[in-house]
Assembly symmetry: C2
Homo-oligomer: 394 residues x 2
């Protein structure tokens, strides 16, 4: 499956280390309607500041992405370096500079090595191909153990529109924004307000529902480029069925990418869904699920395959959500371990321990205060998380 | 040094495991003015609920404390068991039940084993001695690697008043309340309002400034008992110098205990002070210092002895405090690694890496927004933290 008009390529530019793919380029043959969401961290890396300025016009034609250097906390030099790399790409592609979006990930505190970009650029542009998106997913990786790519299509008014999504991200993942790099290209024809709305609502339902370690990066970026080459009927009305179809397809791409990130969380051995039901309001359910999902004690218990529901109740109790502890049920993969706030007894713990040997675990927390329900996706907290982060310079 | 009228003892009651001290008793020969602060967690263990009821009269004569079982999330059975153990102690001491304060730590989700208390009680009461406080500190330990005890004295109107403090706590330590068990006995003569004020303000400046893992326990309790046997001039006026002297002595006991807890944090290899200066308001400085102190990425970097200031800036940026990233200085043990938001350059990183080999590290974060300054105390995040919490059932 291809997305009409989009090509990609990657190169081993030697930005931080030699001999591994670390530079990627995504290109649309015509300017694409483009929307973005960026980190909520006050400390924003140089490329994000530039991207946000450029996206005011809602248009882009290329994304230049590198690993090895985040170009964050790098001051004027960092900004100049980001602009210089964008200019190199624009010149090589023969497009205006302000149609190039920039994304960087890696070590904080150093500006980009522009010379490395300059050496790699001719080859990078020459290699552009509709079949090379997977190599860009690889070039984006830092502590990721595998590249993350999703393809999807949808029918808009009898026309098949295509989506291709890429993501990276394994640490500094916190449920307060996109929290990684995610790029989606589509040949759908859609107006900017609808694209922006579909992206922000989709991110809110997907990337904003995952957490690995509660840290929000300085470089989180999600971009979606829609070049319209599918020539589907215009999607320009948020109340129309076309928009809903588009939004659902985009959200499903974002969700798959988000879940891939959690499953590849630093040191993760388990994929965990924390589901809170019976809450008074959705905000309550979400806050409680997040507090549980971010608890180091809960996460280490899952690593230890310990049906330690006491830590879950303790985390719920400090979430700031009001509830009746004596009307709480908790189940692990369908095995009820807590009934009305007390140990379920019998062989429940033994069966729960068995259930926790699974790779995918759903924790069902049921309150008695209403009908709201929310899910947060996370992973366990392992010895390898500490090893990775004690050794890796991010 | 002794505290007039106070005795203590400990026993191996076999509450969860055989052959280790797990039950402690602290006794005052006359009823003592007593103040307490308790967890802010909505889920409160049975003994805390009873203690809070009993402390409405501001008086107690004994503290019965056990490890091995937190008696939290244990329902009516847990409450009945707590009351039963208190009644056993009251009967053996021949004092009213409502003068017994109860404290439990250990596994969540099971009621106390009352029979174990019953068997141990005669011996526990018979062994009461002014010299046995250290054994109570030992009986309170769970994942603590060492008992925590502090002695101090102060001069109030020409009379020496004495303080003795005990604490336990190594995990589930979060800067939102006392967050462990802490008991202070003193022979000072002080009125309840002054004692309560000295305790709450002291806890706020000490225990509420530490964090190990960001989790708040269901059982956190700090109690101070003042039996007045020193017969110092009454401390009953918050504006008087006597009160200030008392408050400073109590706070210094609380601080020493709090710092001992951090130094003995689960898996800790470093004692870390996060100091934020130059903030607009104290609340800002505290919030930023806490966010940095709770960041897993910052804490694993310290474990790795990595001068990774980028993670500190990233944590500052998501703290919710407004600041100018380009006017931030950061120093590790006096070695400036960030100047005006940028890498200090030269041999700063090499010298900082050297500094991080120390056991005690102070991180100085300087903003340019005002004169407020706050400190938070924490520890690093090691492989052993994960091992302890994947294996230990809390």
């Amino acid at each position: 499956m291809k997305v009409r008009g989009f090509t990609a390529s990657a190169a081993a530019a030697g930005i931080r280390k030699q001999g591994r793919l670390d530079l990627g380029l995504i290109y649309s043959q015509i300017p694409a309607v483009t929307a973005g969401v960026f980190t909520t961290n006050l400390v924003k890396a140089a490329p994000l500041v530039i991207d946000m300025e450029r996206l005011k016009r809602g248009m882009a034609q290329a994304i230049l992405v590198n690993s090895g250097c985040a170009n964050a906390c790098s001051g004027e030099k960092g900004r100049a370096a980001a602009l210089a790399t964008g200019a190199l790409a624009a010149k090589a592609l023969n497009i205006p500079e302000n149609l190039v979006q920039l994304a960087s990930t890696g070590v904080i505190g150093e500006p980009l090595n522009v010379a490395a970009f300059e050496r790699a650029m001719p080859q990078l542009v020459a290699a552009l191909s509709p079949d090379s998106f997977a190599t860009v997913a690889e070039a984006m990786m830092t502590t990721d153990t595998r590249p993350k790519m999703v393809e999807r299509s949808a029918d808009i008014g009898g026309v098949t529109v295509n989506f291709l999504g890429l993501a990276k991200g394994a640490g500094m993942i916190m449920p307060n924004m996109a929290t990684m790099l995610g790029f989606v290209v589509t040949d759908a024809r859609i107006a900017f307000p609808e694209l922006h709305h579909a992206l922000t609502s989709g991110v809110n339902r997907t990337f904003n529902r995952i957490t690995v370690d509660g840290d929000t990066s300085t470089n989180d970026t999600v971009l979606v480029m829609a070049n319209g080459l599918a020539q589907n009927p215009w999607i320009d009305d948020r109340a129309a069925a076309y928009f809903t179809t588009f939004q659902e397809a985009l959200t499903s791409v974002l969700r798959d990418l988000a879940l891939m990130i959690v499953a590849d969380g630093e040191g993760a051995t388990k994929f965990i869904t924390i589901r809170v039901s019976g809450a008074k309001e959705a905000g309550d359910a979400q806050r409680m699920a997040r507090t549980v999902a971010n608890s180091n004690l809960v996460k280490t218990a899952f690593f230890g395959e310990d049906a330690n529901w006491g830590r879950i109740l303790a985390a719920m109790g400090r979430s700031g959500v009001h509830f009746d502890p004596e009307k709480v049920d908790i189940a692990f993969n369908g095995v009820t371990v807590v009934k009305n706030g007390l140990a379920a007894g019998g062989d429940a713990e033994a069966r729960a321990s068995q259930a926790l040997r699974e790779k995918e675990i759903t924790v069902d927390i049921t309150l008695s205060d209403g009908n709201a329900r929310e899910e947060i996706y996370t992973c366990d907290f392992s010895i390898d998380y500490v090893k990775i982060n004690a050794d890796y310079r991010s």
